[in-house]
């Protein structure tokens, strides 16, 4: 374990050292070396120093992890500065790209140290995936700029950020149309209906035996396919999108709630019977709490289904607003940065939606075995 960790750091130092003797870019037909750009070079030296310190001290404390992370961040700024000032798209910049590969090793080592320190530390447990995400965005940025990838093909995160800033009102209108009007109403109605029908069906064992086998069949059906039909029935506006979402979210909720209501053990039911509890008391005090993990499972599945459903349905016709509409028209106009901006909004909204549900789940089903690892 220790040895491989050392190896990663040694490799980083070695590769960075080699990169110092290779060109890092071309400026006005002149080959540029690291020392031609003193700031970038200084940053490289800082990151190498941080790696060497870790290599010698071999500490695994939070402090050491943070130190190495600072070294990574410092090192990361060096290519960022270079790609802005010189042409780095060819063999002329081989040193730069070699350093970037080496930096990947350093980031890996610092993430490993951080995640070891993250046990029981909520802030670090959050920082590790956040830093990983930032690293991916950073790579995207450096590669698109460095290789001069045309923005029609793949814009850099910076350009996408600018597109978000310049189109806030359009993006917000799309968000309002797709998320607030279609997704939320469809989600609420579909999940609510699934839940209520499950409670009704649960009271009639005959219906239960008839519906449950069909439920597993329904889960194999690509229900999004009803989108064109719903658009024909309910028109172009949000109602047709909500209808698609209602149908898509209904079945997962129905099946999960039914399974959840059956998750109660015999002893627990006998207990309620020995109290002469009524049907509704048993439902409220025992069976619904027991079903909660299942219900949240359905809510989380449905949150992603709802976003997919709304955007698919917009492909079959919309008023001239909405995220699906925006994507399909702006692709046609080659405004790729706006498309990516919309994707970014959709990703953030989808993650928030899911995150809020996951947080609620943690709050409400804190007692469930999957959450009570630490006593």
């Amino acid at each position: 374990m220790k040895k491989s960790a050392d190896l990663v750091l040694i490799l980083f130092v070695l590769l960075s050292g080699i990169s110092v003797f290779l060109p890092v870019g071309v400026d006005a037909d002149m080959s540029v070396q690291w020392w031609d750009k003193p700031t970038a070079f200084a940053l490289l030296v800082i990151s190498v120093a941080a790696a060497l310190y870790q290599l010698i001290s071999r500490e695994t404390t939070t402090y050491a992890a943070l130190l190495l992370t600072i070294g990574c961040i410092a090192g990361a700024f060096a290519p960022l500065i270079l790609t802005r000032t010189v042409d780095a798209s060819g063999y002329g910049a081989i040193g730069l790209w070699l350093f970037l590969v080496a930096l990947g090793l350093l980031v890996w080592r610092s993430l490993a140290l951080l995640s070891r320190a993250a046990n029981g530390n909520h802030l670090l447990a959050f920082a590790v995936p956040a830093l990983f995400g930032i690293w991916l965005l950073y790579l995207w940025q450096v590669v698109t700029i460095g290789f001069g990838i045309p923005s029609v093909l793949l814009p850099s995160p910076e350009q996408i950020g600018a597109a978000i800033e310049n189109n806030t009102s359009t993006l917000f209108a799309d968000f309002y149309q797709t998320v607030v009007k279609s997704v939320l109403s469809g989600f609420a109605f579909g999940c609510g209906a699934g839940f209520l029908v499950a409670i009704l069906v649960d009271r009639v064992p005959f219906m239960q035996r008839g519906l449950l086998p069909l439920g597993s069949l329904v889960s194999a059906i690509p229900i999004v396919g009803i989108a064109p039909i719903m658009v024909m029935w309910f028109g172009f506006d949000w109602q047709s999108k909500a209808a698609v979402i209602v149908v898509m979210t209904f079945f997962p909720m129905l099946i999960n709630t039914l399974a959840g209501l059956q998750a109660t053990s015999h002893i627990e039911k006998d207990l309620m019977r020995s109290y002469a509890a009524s049907y509704w008391q048993t439902l409220l005090f025992l069976r619904l709490p027991n079903a909660m993990p299942f219900i949240f499972n359905a809510l989380k599945i449905n949150s992603t289904l709802a976003m997919i459903g709304a955007i698919v349905a917009e492909f079959f016709g919309t008023p001239i607003v909405g995220m699906g509409f925006r994507i399909s028209t702006e692709v046609g106009r080659m405004n790729v940065d706006i498309v990516w901006a919309t994707i970014a909004v959709a990703a953030v909204v989808g993650s928030l939606f899911y995150g809020i549900l996951a947080l609620m789940e943690r709050r409400i089903t804190f007692w469930h075995a999957s959450y009570r690892r630490a006593k």
């Binding site: 002893i267 207990l271 109290y275 909660m292 089903t365 007692w367």
Partner: protein
């Protein structure tokens, strides 16, 4: 024991229960005759499949007999259940993980519709009864197995029933914890003067706890022997080394043997 409080709480005559399974009917209970008096501590003992749990479930109206007569406090079991005349302790604690210890004990009281203050007062009183003061706000999964089972006893007591039905409540616990809880249970029985019916498959446990031991045998489930114990009401664990104790144990074992309980 005085003759004054020999009031029958449970009367069972010619009780039969046949389970219909796919191939053959199973005679779970066959011609059971039994009377339990107020203040008795009655143990049902026998190997698995002898119907001891089933008999208790019939008393609790969790199972319907297919023949014979049974009355609980002079009522049918169903009426008794509706009136919440008994407290039931199961093999597993069956505590709800989403409720705190206190809230778990308050559960039957909420269902009965008692006032909030009464619920709280009873929870506190019964937690003290099982020596668990200070654990009100803990969740069940934060307690040990023995403590969880004590909470479930407190929950059964909180209904304030005269009759306590206990179905192998300490079966899943280690022997040291079990001895300790047995002593506590005896003290509880002595101070509250409740009638207790206790299902077990441990001979020492049955003899140590009971004033009356019902020995049962399987296929079909029937009563082999009913042994009145003459041990004093306040006993300690030391009593298990006395000749009286060993003699009663011997009689139980004889009963089990005559019912072919040791075959295969």
């Amino acid at each position: 024991m005085s003759d004054v409080d020999l009031k029958p709480v449970i009367e069972i005559e010619k009780l039969n229960l046949v389970f219909q399974t796919a191939d053959t009917p199973v005679h779970a209970l066959s011609d059971i005759d039994l009377t339990v008096n107020a203040g008795d501590f009655v143990s049902f003992i026998g190997p698995s499949g002898c119907g001891k749990t089933t008999l208790m479930r019939v008393i609790a109206d969790l199972e319907k007999p297919t023949g014979g007569h049974i009355s609980v406090n002079g009522m049918t079991p169903e009426e008794a259940r509706q009136k919440r005349a008994y407290g039931y302790v199961f093999q597993a604690p069956a505590l709800y993980p989403w409720r705190t210890v206190e809230k778990n004990i308050m559960l039957p009281l909420e269902i009965m519709g008692l006032s909030r203050e009464e619920q709280k007062a009873r929870a506190a009183r019964n937690l003290a009864m099982v020596n668990l003061e200070g654990f009100e706000k803990k969740f069940p999964w934060q307690l040990s197995g023995g403590m969880q089972q004590r909470v479930s006893i407190a929950r059964a007591l909180s209904v304030e029933p005269d009759l306590l039905l206990m179905d192998e409540p300490f079966g899943a616990l280690d022997e040291i914890t079990r001895d300790h809880l047995n002593e506590q249970l005896l003290k509880l029985w002595d101070t509250t003067k409740k009638t207790v019916i206790f299902v077990t498959h441990s001979i020492p446990e049955a003899v140590f706890l009971s004033s009356k031991i019902v020995v049962m045998s399987p296929r079909p489930g029937k009563v082999i022997d009913i042994i009145e114990s003459n041990l004093p009401r306040d006993r300690t664990l030391d009593i298990r080394e006395t000749p009286e104790f060993l003699e009663i144990s011997h009689r139980v074992r004889e009963g089990l043997r005559s019912g072919h309980s040791y075959d295969d």
